[in-house]
Symmetry: C2
Subunit: 156 residues, 2 copies
Amino acid sequence: MTGTRVAVAGTFGPLHDGHRNLLGTALKYADEGLIVGLTSDAFARASRTREIPSFEDRRAALETAIADLDDWGREVEIRRLTTEHGIVTDEPDIDALVVSPETAPELAAINETRRERGFDPIEGIVAPYVLAADGERISSTRIVRGEIDEHGRIRE
Amino acid sequence: MTGTRVAVAGTFGPLHDGHRNLLGTALKYADEGLIVGLTSDAFARASRTREIPSFEDRRAALETAIADLDDWGREVEIRRLTTEHGIVTDEPDIDALVVSPETAPELAAINETRRERGFDPIEGIVAPYVLAADGERISSTRIVRGEIDEHGRIRE
């Protein structure tokens, strides 16, 4: 037991093996529970032009993936995330945030806000990228574009 | 048990509360052992103009700090680090590297080398900075300059 309460956040749609790796890492370390911040439709769509599956569809796919990946019987709570640093700057009792290499630089601002609010800073756990068959990373954008499938296989 | 074999690296001299936080984080997650890469004198001095305590002095202080911080009875091995990405790119059986926010960007290059060598990429665990009494971070450079002590207290 490391006594770690973990958070992870994202849009998770379409869900792919990069997300699964992020969730698997989060579950592995979350021996005191995992909070998954799932972006609201409004928040997810505000920064993107591509189509985003609905919150309920994304939540259902997320629940299936978590059930598949959870080898430890972790306590998992999915919450609606409506702002970039929501949940992790509002909850004192989080120890670590699992992030992709792309979002790791956000940790500094998150911890600055936490310190301002009198909360302890949190650790960041950076899960490595999962690469597609072409050696580029798997992303929902690439899947929506039709370049790869959710496992990173090239679509012709 | 998360089954995590952890590495951490640094010069650790003069040892301060930021190092202690890094080591405490590493120990917490290292349920399958911790490798501490301690820079050789030649490597530590190559990139710095300030005085660096000798390897043996740094190793002794490190061992004392680890004994103080190890609440879990972890298996710990201190090794001499002679190149920037040594140990973590040479050892297949490492799962995570504990880093400061400053060195977190190195993870991408480390994992690129690991993938080239056929090793699994590793997770990065980013321990937050520890702040001195003036709100700036604690660093060995600041201690050597006489600005703060090893606990971040201001020296007048």
